[in-house]
Structures are given as structure tokens and as C-alpha cells.
């Protein structure tokens, strides 16, 4: 429970240890040591208790999978639901309607708005404006906090309208939705979306005014991508190093390793760590952004290619602009059929299915093996934070000596870096072990 900060005497090397990093989701710590000879060791430790999802999913029915995996994470339940639904539908060869695809896209993007706004304003901005929390920040920056809460509420309300509930939605099921939102409700949302879109440039100004640390370590960027749109719920696995794979080929490329010093499983492609999430997506799918999202990137001085994980912060702003645009476009293009019912799934043969999506924090993988009565035999889930965990450590290693060189606070700098990744630690505990 207590936070330990140890700074060893000058010349003896430096050490920063934070047992419980604040303003991130879940329970994790960091341990960075720089020896006097300049060796740096960095650990991203997770003491979040394990919940054994892959174990208790075994024996459950195919139609419960998204409902249960939603509970992996209270910040990105929508991403887990959509991914689980698509994996199960791929297994059972269920083809959903265009309307379902569109509603899922709106649902997922509402999750991005909610999650990105939380991360930007409540978790990140206090670092750069010098407050311990957004609540304290409100004393001097009331307008900023009010905008944040309005945006977050818009994301949540959209999620509630389409999914029935913002946190752990209930109406998205295998094959479609149990209820379609009405035109009137969507029209009301359009008014709010338009208003927030007009106001969003203040966010662009705010987040371009901060000074972000530099990490110039060229790293592998990974995301999903497709030819039609900025990939959210569907796409091929791609990287800046020419990786190209359909989602079902994921396990051929992404491997997990146990690391002796921490017993933490980490993800690698070709033996290298990689970066996934907002900045990877903006790098790899820039062309698919809307005109205004590109304009935001320009105003934020986000020049590509960009490997600095701190630029995740700017990329989140760009993606909020994109999400507002894209939700409005999708609603406009919807020709709602209120009577549409979910497509029925047929069980009867053993099968398996995988799905890759972009959760707010990055690449999310679900895979299920079902028996002939549609009962889960095996599950495999890899979350964005699990994908990023090796990259987080590599970035800590690169950042620590720079901070010391510039005489900056090692501990605070490292905490800021963790928050730039916006790790979702509850999610990650499927593949990371306890450090207790």
C-alpha cells in the first residue's frame, strides 16, 4: 500500500521504484535502476490479482463468451465484447448484417471517445498542468475539466444508447443486436456530436501546448488495417516492417515469452518487442483518417513516422477528432431497420475462431475453440497492455538515462511514460504473473 521512493547517493547509481502507479487502470508498479556504469534495468511489474478468465470460460456456452469477457475490463468492455463476438461468429460461421457492423463500429468508437477522454484529461493532463488529479485541476482549469466530462459523457451515452449500458453493454449479442436505436435518439446524439466537434479544437490547442519528453528509439509498430476505413473492429495484422497477416494467422507471428527476472509473459514478433495503440494506428493508418483528424495531427505537430510512445497522447486527441467525425458519418449512412433480429448461430460441429480488433489501447486478440454443442473448450486472450508490456520496459530503459542527463526527476518521468501508454492492467493479467 505504501509508495516507496528510494534515491541512492550520487555516484552510486540511481533507482526509482513506484509500488503502485497512480492514475492508471489497475494495480502495477515500476522499478528502474541506473547503475553508475550506466547500465539500466527496467521492470514493469503487475501485482494485479489474476482472475483466470481462460480457465473459467471453459465449459461456458458460446453466447455467454462476450458477456463474461466484457468483465475483463471496465474501461474497454466494448472492445472485449466486439472481439469475443467476432471470434465466436468466425468460429460458427455467422455472417452479420451491414447494420450490425455499423452499429458495432459506432459502439466501439464511443468506447474510444470515453476511454481516450478519460486518459487524456483525468489521467494525463494533471501531470502536465501540475496537479495531483483532475478534480484539483478543476480549481484553475474549470473549462478544461468541464469539456472533458462532457466528452466522456457523450461517449458513455452513445454506448448506452447502442449497447443498452455504457459499462458492460447488454444488447450486443452473437449475430447482432437485441434492439436497434431509434432515429430520434440518434438525431439527438447528432446534435451533441456536432457541438463537441466544434469545441474539440480547444483540446487540440491544449495538448499541443505541453512539452513531452523525447524517446527516439525506433520500434516496431503494429496495428490492424483494412482498405475501406480506419481499422477498428476488422482488419489484417500489419506492421511498419512489412508484416501482413489475416487475423487467424496471429499466433504464427506473435509469440509470448516468460522472462526469468519477473515471470512476466511478454509479447514479441520476430523476437522483438513492439508498440501497439493510438500512435501505432495513426502511423500505419494515417491515410484513412478524416480531413479534420489529419488537420488535428498537423496542429499537434505530429510528424510521421513517429516512434515516441509519449506521442500516444497526441494520437489520442487525433483519434477523438476522428471518432466524432466517423460516428456522425456512420449515423448519416445508416438506413435503420428496426425489426432486424440477430442472425441465428448453428452449433453441431467442433470449430474454432479468432478475431483481432483495435481496443482504445491497441491490438486485442481473442480465440476460442468450441465443441459440437457450442461449449468453450479452450480460450486464448491477449490484450493491448500485454502486447505492449515488453515495449514499455524498453522505453523505460531508453528514457531513464535521458532523464538523469537532463537532471529531471527519474520517478516522475517514468510514471509519466507509463501513463502515456495508458496501460489497462486488469486486462493484462491473463498473461502477466504476480509480483507480490
Amino acid at each position: 500500500m505504501s509508495k516507496k521512493v528510494e534515491a541512492e547517493p550520487e555516484g552510486e547509481g540511481k533507482k526509482a521504484e513506484v509500488c503502485y502507479v497512480a492514475r492508471v487502470e489497475g494495480q502495477g508498479g515500476i522499478n528502474v535502476e541506473v547503475s553508475k556504469t550506466g547500465n539500466v534495468s527496467a521492470q514493469f511489474q503487475v501485482f494485479e490479482p489474476i482472475r483466470f478468465f481462460e480457465a473459467f470460460l471453459m465449459g461456458r456456452k458460446y453466447h455467454e463468451v462476450h458477456e463474461l469477457t466484457s468483465r475483463i475490463c471496465g474501461i474497454c468492455p466494448i472492445a472485449h465484447q466486439v472481439t469475443a463476438l467476432r471470434a465466436v461468429e468466425n468460429a460458427l460461421k455467422v455472417q452479420v448484417s451491414a447494420q450490425t457492423r455499423a452499429l458495432r463500429r459506432i459502439l466501439a468508437l464511443s468506447g474510444w471517445i470515453q476511454s481516450h477522454t478519460l486518459s487524456l484529461y483525468l489521467l494525463t493532463a494533471p501531470d502536465y498542468l501540475g496537479f495531483e488529479s483532475a478534480i484539483e485541476m478543476a480549481k484553475e482549469h474549470m473549462d478544461v475539466v468541464k469539456q472533458a466530462l462532457r466528452l466522456k459523457k457523450l461517449g458513455n451515452d452513445l454506448g448506452e444508447l447502442v449497447g443498452g449500458r455504457a459499462i458492460h453493454p447488454i444488447s450486443a449479442v452473437v449475430g447482432g443486436f437485441t434492439r436497434t436505436p431509434t432515429k430520434e435518439d440518434l438525431a439527438k446524439m447528432m446534435v451533441r456530436l456536432k457541438k463537441e466537434k466544434e469545441e474539440i479544437w480547444r483540446a487540440v490547442d491544449l495538448f499541443s501546448s505541453f512539452n513531452y519528453p523525447e524517446i527516439n528509439r525506433r520500434t516496431k509498430l503494429v496495428a490492424i488495417s483494412n482498405d475501406k476505413e480506419y481499422a477498428v473492429n476488422e482488419g489484417r495484422l500489419v506492421s511498419n516492417n512489412g508484416l501482413e497477416s489475416p487475423e487467424e494467422g496471429y499466433r504464427k507471428f506473435v509469440e509470448e515469452k516468460e522472462v526469468s527476472y519477473s515471470n512476466t509473459k511478454k509479447s514479441f514478433i520476430d523476437g522483438e518487442d513492439f508498440l501497439t495503440g493510438p500512435i501505432a494506428r495513426v502511423n500505419l493508418n494515417y491515410q484513412k483518417l478524416t480531413r479534420d483528424a489529419k488537420k488535428a495531427a498537423e496542429q499537434l505537430n505530429l510528424s510521421l513516422p513517429c516512434y515516441n510512445p509519449f506521442m500516444n497522447i497526441k494520437a489520442r486527441v487525433v483519434e477523438v477528432v476522428y471518432a466524432l467525425d466517423e460516428i456522425m458519418r456512420t449515423i448519416d449512412a445508416l438506413r435503420l431497420d428496426f425489426s432486424e433480429q440477430p442472425v441465428k448461430a448453428e452449433t453441431g460441429t467442433p470449430c474454432e475462431g479468432a478475431a483481432l480488433t483495435e481496443a482504445p489501447r491497441g491490438l486485442l486478440y481473442h480465440w476460442y475453440k468450441l465443441d459440437s454443442s457450442g461449449i468453450v473448450e479452450k480460450a486464448d486472450i491477449v490484450t493491448p497492455t500485454a502486447h505492449n508490456s515488453a515495449n514499455i520496459e524498453a522505453s523505460l530503459q531508453a528514457l531513464a538515462p535521458e532523464l538523469l542527463k537532463k537532471g529531471q526527476d527519474l520517478k516522475f518521468g517514468c510514471e509519466k511514460l507509463i501513463r502515456a501508454y495508458d496501460p489497462c492492467i486488469s486486462c493484462s493479467v491473463h498473461v502477466t504473473n504476480l509480483q507480490e
Binding site: Q27, P49, A55, R60, H168, I170, H430
Partner: protein, 255 residues
């Protein structure tokens, strides 16, 4: 800020998904107004302040599943006036408690190759280890319930929480009955209200995510489900989901 003494509020996360804290933060319209009356003295997801202090009201999200949490919940209890079991995990263990019916070593082996550093034990609500003053069920509990708990704490009165079933909320919303009219296996008749009957309103059966209502009759509902053709395995899956460890639901799905 006023000079008036504010209510000292803490929000802790144990074994859970942070969804309950997210529901707390969904009080977007009320949050700034609330901070005139309350002070967050511990809320790690929101602020950088990590000290054990005295709490007027402490919301604990998540279940107890590690030795560290067991120690921590005792410490919190000793320093808290009103301890709130905040959400299903803190009340019954919620969906992660499904694994209580697997052997611990089985569960560990599915997820990890090297199981030696794992310190987890069976998932349980915080009430299994310390006395709890207030229970807010739900996955997640609706934000209005959070507001009610805070208001009651400020006024030092008993909060007005619903103990009746989801059915009452369905009637208030004039929903067609999912169970009797549509023949779907709806958990509403045994599930505690508070959500606003959202699942039936969205045309589907209630899954029971608020846990058992007071004086529930799960055996009778199970008999109805049986008549609808629900297999005995599906029956166990239905009752062993959000509140499988509750006495009421164990009656159907077994201990």
C-alpha cells in the same frame, strides 16, 4: 472550496475490472458539485495520493483473492466508518468466482506454465472476511446507487436501496414480460432491482447481474426454466454467473 468539513471518501480496487470505479466516474454531471461536499482521500485511478487515512465512507470494488488483499481489507475496515461492498465482485465474487468450482491448480495451469509465484485463493466477497455496512450489488452498480450511498452518508441516514426484484422495474417501464410472454429464461424474478430493467427493455432476458433480491425463490424459477426446456447444465450456468457463491443461487446450482 468551502471551509465546511467534507466527507472523506475512499475508493479501492481489489480483484476486479475497474468497471465500478468507471461507473463512479460516470457521475459526470454531479462530480464537480459533489467535490464541494466530499473529498477523495484515496482513489488511485484518479489521483496521486497513496496513504492510509481515516475514511468516512470507503467503496471497495473487487473481491478478495490474494493474501495481500486479505491483509488490506482488514486494515481498511479498521480505518473506515461506512464500508461499502461496491459491486458484485465485492459482494459475491461475480463472474471470476465461477472458477471456485475448478480446483485451484487446474485453473492456474490453464493460464500459466510456471505456477509457482501465484498466490491466489478462491474468490470471495469482502463480507466473508470483515463486517460490511452497505452492499451495492450490480455489474456495475448503477451510478444512482453510488449517489444514494454518498447522500445517505452525508446525512447520516440509512440509504434507500431497492431490495425487490427486477420485475417491479419492468412493470414500471411497461415492458412485455420476457418470461411469461416471450418464453425466455429471464432471471428478473429472482434478481435485485437497481438497473432499471435494462435487459428486458432491450428485448432480452435478464442475466441476473445484480445478484439475488431479498427473499428470492430461485428453486421455483428454476422449475419454470425447466418447463421452458432449459437443460440442467444450462441451469447451473445461469445461476453460477454473477452470484454463484450466494446462498440463494447455490440452492439451484449447488455449492
Amino acid at each position: 472550496m468551502s471551509t465546511e468539513k467534507r466527507l472523506r471518501v475512499a475508493v479501492y480496487k481489489f480483484t476486479g475490472c475497474a468497471g465500478c470505479q468507471m461507473e463512479f466516474l460516470r457521475l459526470e454531471d454531479e462530480l464537480l458539485e459533489l467535490t464541494k461536499k466530499i473529498e477523495f482521500v484515496y482513489f488511485m485511478m484518479v489521483q496521486n495520493r497513496d496513504e492510509l487515512e481515516r475514511y468516512d465512507i470507503c467503496f471497495v470494488e473487487g473481491s478478495v483473492s490474494t493474501p495481500r488483499e486479505l491483509e488490506e481489507i482488514k486494515m481498511i475496515r479498521a480505518n473506515t466508518r461506512t464500508l461499502v461492498a461496491f459491486g458484485d465482485c465485492a459482494v459475491t465474487g461475480c463472474v471470476p468466482s465461477i472458477r471456485n468450482w475448478l480446483s485451484q491448480s487446474e485453473a492456474e495451469k490453464v493460464v500459466y506454465k510456471d505456477t509457482s509465484p501465484i498466490r491466489s485463493f478462491k474468490v470471495g466477497g469482502i463480507g466473508e472476511y470483515v463486517p460490511v455496512d452497505l452492499t451495492l450489488p450490480g455489474c456495475p452498480p448503477h451510478k444512482n446507487m453510488i449517489l444514494e450511498a454518498i447522500t445517505a452518508s452525508l446525512l447520516e441516514i440509512r440509504p434507500d436501496l431497492r431490495m425487490h426484484s427486477v420485475c417491479v422495474e419492468c412493470k414500471l417501464r411497461e415492458n412485455v414480460c420476457i418470461l411469461t410472454s416471450l418464453g425466455k429464461a429471464c432471471m428478473g424474478p429472482v434478481t435485485r432491482a437497481g438497473c432499471g430493467a435494462i435487459c428486458p427493455t432491450y428485448g432480452r432476458e435478464c442475466e441476473g447481474c445484480y445478484g439475488p433480491m431479498s427473499d428470492a425463490n430461485p428453486a421455483s424459477l428454476a422449475a419454470e426454466f425447466h418447463k421452458l426446456g432449459v437443460s440442467s447444465q444450462d441451469l447451473v450456468r445461469k445461476f453460477r454467473k454473477y452470484a454463484g457463491t450466494s446462498k440463494e443461487f447455490e440452492e439451484v446450482s449447488g455449492r
